[in-house]
């Protein structure tokens, strides 16, 4: 286990650095210029050449690509991620100020999808090709296909405007969380149901389940205790990769529900060519990704005792 951890941490550092280097490289050579975009966005004015030059100079943007890279690396070795060109605030602060909200939304949506998607998927697998199974198939297909911005607005029209039960924007209380959480959870729940069903069906056809049945174990115990544990392994893998989906979905959901998370800020930064923010955020998000996948690998050990990451000592 320790070797796995060390291996992963070393590769994580490389993944993070390469990801943020690539994002900088791509945007640096993409058309568009941070000075121009940022001035135009904030002032609503077409910037003059003098203004652009001044902005570039003040933010060291007119240096060659490699020099800027090295500057960034130098800052990084001192534990700094630089300052946002757009807001003038340190990138790390921009991240920490917003990440809480995104994390809250992501965890809530993930929890909701597991609570709903897992049991439904299991039920569907125990009665394959039943009416329930067919309905679930249609529902999950719809769930995956519904665009989040549309769903968000519809929920808003229904629960905020027509019924007046829930606020349509803002952040802070549980009532604010409900609509964005549901919006974000629908897609994940739908795909989770499908995965659980498929994985469960496979397991239910294995010999040890037949043995258990022959032994006279109750159906409930077989499905929920013996089968589910093995069926969960691929599901956990999927959940790990859904973290990326959560962050991507958060961009839209955060915009629709005015949720003060990192998603919208990050996208705006890309439009503005705010290099330090992009590099810094990519670095941190890559770290989170690596971390989540590491957690998934560790979870395997608990779900499946056959999985071992090193020789028995």
């Amino acid at each position: 286990m320790r070797r796995l951890l060390i291996q992963r941490l070393v590769s994580a550092v490389f993944v993070m650095l390469i990801a943020s280097f690539l994002s900088f490289l791509l945007l640096f050579y993409a058309p568009g210029n941070p000075a121009e975009t940022i001035i135009r966005q904030q002032s609503g004015l077409d910037p003059t050449y003098a203004e652009i030059e001044l902005f570039m100079k003040r933010h060291d943007l007119n240096r060659p690509f490699l020099v800027q890279c090295l500057q960034w690396l130098y800052l990084l070795t001192h534990g700094k991620l630089g300052v946002s060109l757009r807001t003038g605030e340190p990138v790390l602060e921009e991240f920490t100020a917003r990440f809480g909200a995104t994390f809250q939304l992501a965890v809530a949506a993930m929890a909701l999808s597991v609570i709903i998607g897992l049991p439904i998927g299991v039920f569907a697998a125990t009665k394959p090709n039943s009416l329930f199974d067919h309905i679930i198939r249609v529902v999950s297909l719809a769930g995956v296909s519904i665009p989040e911005f549309w769903l968000g607005l519809m929920l808003m029209l229904c629960f905020s405007l027509a019924l007046g039960w829930l606020p349509c924007f803002g952040h802070g209380t549980v009532r604010h969380l409900v609509l964005p959480m549901i919006t974000l959870a629908v897609g994940i729940t739908a795909s989770l149901m499908r995965f659980v069903r498929t994985s469960m069906l496979e397991v239910l056809n294995l010999d040890y389940i037949k043995t258990a049945k022959a032994k006279g174990l109750r159906e409930v115990v077989i499905v929920w205790k013996h089968a589910l544990k093995n069926a969960l392994i691929p599901v956990v893998t999927i959940l790990g990769t859904q973290v990326g989906h959560l962050l991507a979905g958060a961009v839209i959901v955060e915009t629709v529900f005015s949720w003060p998370g990192i998603g919208k800020f990050f996208v705006d930064s890309i439009y503005a060519r705010d290099y330090p923010v992009i590099q810094g955020f990519v670095l941190i998000i890559a770290a989170i990704y690596v971390l989540v996948n590491l957690l998934v690998d560790i979870l395997y050990v608990y779900l499946d005792p056959r999985v071992r990451y090193e020789g028995r000592s």
């Binding site: 077409d46 003098a50 001044l54």
Partner: protein
């Protein structure tokens, strides 16, 4: 400046479409029964697309400038009550308004003004031309220029570069190249609470030197999605939208619905426009007759009426008619005359010789590309309308939508046939007045 002017003339304008407007929708009927929550306090809740600190409209509630501009583009006194300019235009003497205090109690005297001016000069384009700044007495600020700089007062009136800030507003305190960290200004509202991307709470500045605001409190709520803003407005969670942006995000098509819902919609034209720009340096638009023909082929009146419910007006000049240097006497319009358009194109050598419905010249069909920056409001609707109008005279327009930064990059390099965008300055000429 010279260079910029040339760049501008190169691209002559066609079919100026819409004078941009702000639709202010206030839930007036509802405000009465919503206020009691805060014991008789008058609270105005604004919905805004941008975060308070990122929007110039937000900053302008807190900060003022030495000089302001009116609708016509005249510079008017703001924190400077008056000013004299030396004969050679190189020395400006500002007489400061007396009795003005910053929100933290600091008096705006000559030394505070000098700090604010130097801080502005560090980020404003005129900064590099400044020789020195003096304070002959407690209410006077004297600025010496190295050379004559014409748009100085207009630069100074810009909310973007030139807010008058307090020495304690920057980090480190009193440093002329410090970072603006505290929003301490002289404006009608004080910022008391701010949460990034969420909201800002402003209270009335009771020591304000000018007309005091009628509301006690303004809450700026960030709602990035325009449709969500409309829902929030209808649900009574906010009182007003649209006024918080210089480029109204409220879709025109929503306006009748808002009116029907009993929401008051007010529109003010402030002289912005959306424009289709020819690239006059390239075939086929280097020919004046071709440009004229395209102008005649597009029914702007109909477009504005059908696409935007008649809210904006068709524009025929590149400046607002009321602008001080604008052509107020222009009465002549291009009008709509497709027959004449065809005739002009024929004179320019464009004829349909192969009978495919598209004009051609020297074996080349009249096909060109309209460059659209992604997210340019209304651009898609306009593009499709213009496309169908041009098809009638045998001209094929293709559409190319690129990510905004990439589109602007191309336009700067001249790699386009036609470009759609909206005006920035008022009017959109270098040194035009900034929006307030």
């Amino acid at each position: 400046m010279q260079l910029k002017m040339k760049g501008f003339l190169r691209t002559v304008t066609i079919a100026l479409i819409s004078l941009f407007l702000i639709s202010v929708a206030a839930g007036c009927a509802k405000t009465g029964d919503q206020t009691p929550a805060t014991k008789g306090e008058k609270v105005l809740r604004l919905g805004a697309v941008k975060d308070f600190k990122e929007a110039i409209e937000g900053q302008n509630l807190v900060f003022e400038r030495f000089v302001g501009v009116d609708r016509e583009g005249n510079t008017v006194p703001q924190l400077a009550e008056s000013w004299d300019v030396s004969k050679d235009g190189k020395i400006y003497t500002f007489h400061l308004r007396k009795g003005v205090k910053f929100h933290n109690g600091t008096v705006l005297d000559a030394s505070a003004a000098k700090f604010a001016f130097q801080w502005i000069a560090n980020q404003a384009p005129f900064g590099r031309y400044i020789e020195k700044v003096e304070t002959p007495d407690n209410n006077t600020l004297k600025v010496y220029f190295k050379e004559y700089y014409a748009p100085f007062l207009l630069d100074l009136a810009s909310g973007w570069t030139s807010p008058v800030i307090c020495p304690e507003a920057v980090e480190p305190v009193g440093s002329v190249d410090g970072k603006l960290t505290n929003f301490i200004g002289t404006g009608p509202f004080k910022l008391v609470d701010y949460e990034k991307d969420k909201q800002a709470v402003l209270v009335r500045n009771d020591d304000y030197w000018g007309n005091k605001p009628k509301v006690d409190k303004v809450i700026w709520k960030t709602i990035p999605d325009p449709h969500a803003q409309i829902v929030a407005l209808k649900a009574g969670e906010i009182d007003m939208i649209g006024i918080t942006e210089h480029h109204s995000s409220i879709p025109y098509v929503e306006v009748p619905g808002l009116r029907k819902a009993g929401i008051k919609v007010e529109e003010t034209s402030y002289g912005r426009y959306q424009v289709l720009e020819f690239n006059c340096q390239k075939e086929p638009f280097n020919d004046k007759k071709v440009r004229l023909a395209l102008n005649l082929a597009i029914d702007s009146e109909k477009m504005v009426k059908e696409l935007f419910g008649g809210l904006p007006e068709p524009a025929y000049t590149i400046t607002a008619p009321w602008f001080k240097y604008g052509p107020s006497n222009v009465k002549q319009k291009y009008g709509y005359d497709p027959e004449k358009a065809k005739q002009l194109l024929a004179e320019a050598g464009w004829k349909d010789t192969d009978g495919d419905g598209i004009l051609d010249k020297n074996g080349k069909p009249f096909v060109f590309e309209l460059l659209i920056p992604a997210g340019e409001a209304n651009a898609d609707a306009v593009a499709v309308f213009v496309q169908s109008e041009l098809k009638k005279i045998g001209v094929q327009m293709k559409l190319l939508t690129l990510e905004s930064g990439a589109a602007w990059d191309r336009s700067k390099k001249g790699e386009y046939d036609m470009f759609v965008h909206h005006s920035f300055c008022l009017p959109s000429i270098p040194g035009g007045i900034a929006i307030g």
